[in-house]
């Protein structure tokens, strides 16, 4: 058995401790050790974005982060987007806009789209497409994803104004 390393971190607002081998990716830790299987593995080399999580406030591919690197870090996953039993507007808009078909890419898109709207509350279509280009979807042709992000932007604007 390979040596394991103790890591203390914060995931979706909760302090979490885990043990992992140095070679374990953050994605492996989240899915296999912590049971947070919402983050998906589509390629395991940073080319599909299905494993996107927020690491210290920026979106990363969790397959390209080692578990041991997140000592002291703050992580948010798709499981943390809905709060107090209510869906976040980006989730609600994805459902109303039929932005998912098979749904495997959806967690990554939601994390990235939420990050985009927090950085840029009024993105143009081009900005949405540019910022979500690291997330692949094979089912939708992206139309309804982009429209749902636009809808969420409008909705968030209404609630804050």
């Amino acid at each position: 058995m390979s040596k394991k390393i103790h890591v203390t971190t914060t995931i979706n607002g909760e302090p979490i401790e885990f043990l992992c081998e140095a070679r374990h990716s953050l994605l492996e830790v989240l899915r296999d050790s912590l049971g947070l299987t919402g983050s998906k593995e589509g390629c395991n080399n940073g080319n599909c974005g299905a494993c996107t999580v927020m690491l210290n406030g920026v979106p990363v591919d969790s397959c390209l982060v080692l578990g041991v690197e997140v000592e002291g870090a703050t992580i948010e996953t798709v499981e943390g987007i809905a709060q107090n039993g209510e869906l976040h507007p980006i989730q609600q808009c994805f459902l109303e806009g039929a932005a998912l078909q098979c749904g495997i890419c959806t967690p990554g898109f939601l994390v990235a789209a939420k990050a985009l709207l927090e950085k840029n509350p009024h993105p143009s279509e081009e900005e949405i497409r540019f910022n979500l280009a690291g997330n692949l979807c094979r089912c939708t042709g992206y139309d309804k994803i982009v429209r749902s992000v636009q809808a969420a932007a409008s909705q968030l604007q209404e609630t804050t104004s």
């Binding site: 040596k3 140095a22 070679r23 990716s25 982060v65 041991v68 690197e69 990235a112 690291g134």
Partner: protein
């Protein structure tokens, strides 16, 4: 993937000591976007992975208009293109950092890592060469520096000796009436490896009509990113016109030795050198004129 030791030294000296001790069996982890994939796919192997992101001088940058940019080797791309001052001073570098992978990659990947990975197609290296960047290297026997265009020695290989690491890059202060641009050609619009990449930097005379000096650099057309010396020197004194841009592109073609692979044929790459040099010069001149 084979397991390895993980070390996160707090200063450069500790890091270089580890590097010297383990030699080739030590690998540096900055953003991890190349090295983790390479370890996983068995392209590189490590007994110890040295995470350098706990070393303050390596993950931050300092900029002033007088001194220029000191860029910690592991500073992630998103911080660079998020800084408007840097965007004005080094637009080609900004162009590069904005297109290395998608957003998730840019949150982690660094210019220094891109340089150390030494891919012939690296998107940031032509911009560094065009901006006359200097690489600052620390090793067990002290520090040394080398010009960006001399850093790479072959595909995946660089000038670092055993025990050495890249600590920072410095870019000279932005000159008046100067501008730069980086473009790569890719079949998609994002998330792709450059078929050819080109960066151009120009300084115009006060009239804005003539090029005082220029620097052109290329990627994915040789075993290492290239400084196009002949084309660059030729630019001095030339009018900032479309004909000049085309001619510079033709001159730049002389130094390339591209391969044919899944990304394009040698003939196509050669042709693209002309197209991209022409286009980057045009943008660089426009930026110089608007003093961006």
């Amino acid at each position: 993937m084979k397991n390895f030791e993980y070390a996160a030294p707090a200063n450069v000296e500790s890091a270089t000591a580890l590097l010297e001790k383990y030699g080739d069996a030590a690998k540096i982890l900055a953003g991890g976007t190349d090295i983790i994939v390479q370890l996983r796919e068995g392209l590189r192997a490590a007994d110890v992975v040295i995470d350098i992101k706990n070393i303050p001088e390596i993950v931050d940058y300092q900029y002033s208009a007088d001194v220029g940019l000191q860029l910690g080797a592991a500073t992630p791309c998103y911080r660079i293109y998020g800084d408007e001052e840097l965007a004005k001073a080094y637009p080609a570098v900004l162009d590069s950092t904005r297109i290395i992978g998608g957003w998730q990659i840019q949150s982690r990947a660094s210019v220094g890592g891109n340089l150390c990975n030494a891919s012939p197609a690296a998107d940031s290296i032509p911009s560094l060469i065009a901006h006359q960047a200097t690489c600052h290297i620390a090793g067990p026997h002290g520090r040394r520096s080398v010009a960006a265009q001399d850093f790479c020695t072959g595909p995946g290989r660089n000038t670092l000796e055993q025990g050495e690491m890249l600590v920072a890059l410095t870019l000279p202060p932005s000159k008046p009436n100067s501008g730069s641009a980086y473009l790569r050609f890719i079949p998609r619009n994002e998330m792709d490896i450059a078929v050819v990449g080109a960066a151009s930097w120009v300084q115009l005379d006060d009239s804005g009509e003539s090029i005082q000096s220029g620097r052109i650099a290329l990627a994915a057309v040789a075993p290492v990113p290239l400084y196009a010396e002949e084309a660059s020197s030729w630019l001095s004194g030339q009018p900032a016109t479309a004909a000049t841009f085309v001619e510079a592109g033709e001159l730049a073609k002389n130094i390339v030795s591209p391969i044919s692979d899944m990304r394009g044929t040698a003939e196509y790459r050669q042709h693209l050198v002309g197209v991209l040099v022409k286009r980057t010069l045009k943008i660089a001149v426009e930026r110089a004129r608007t003093n961006q």
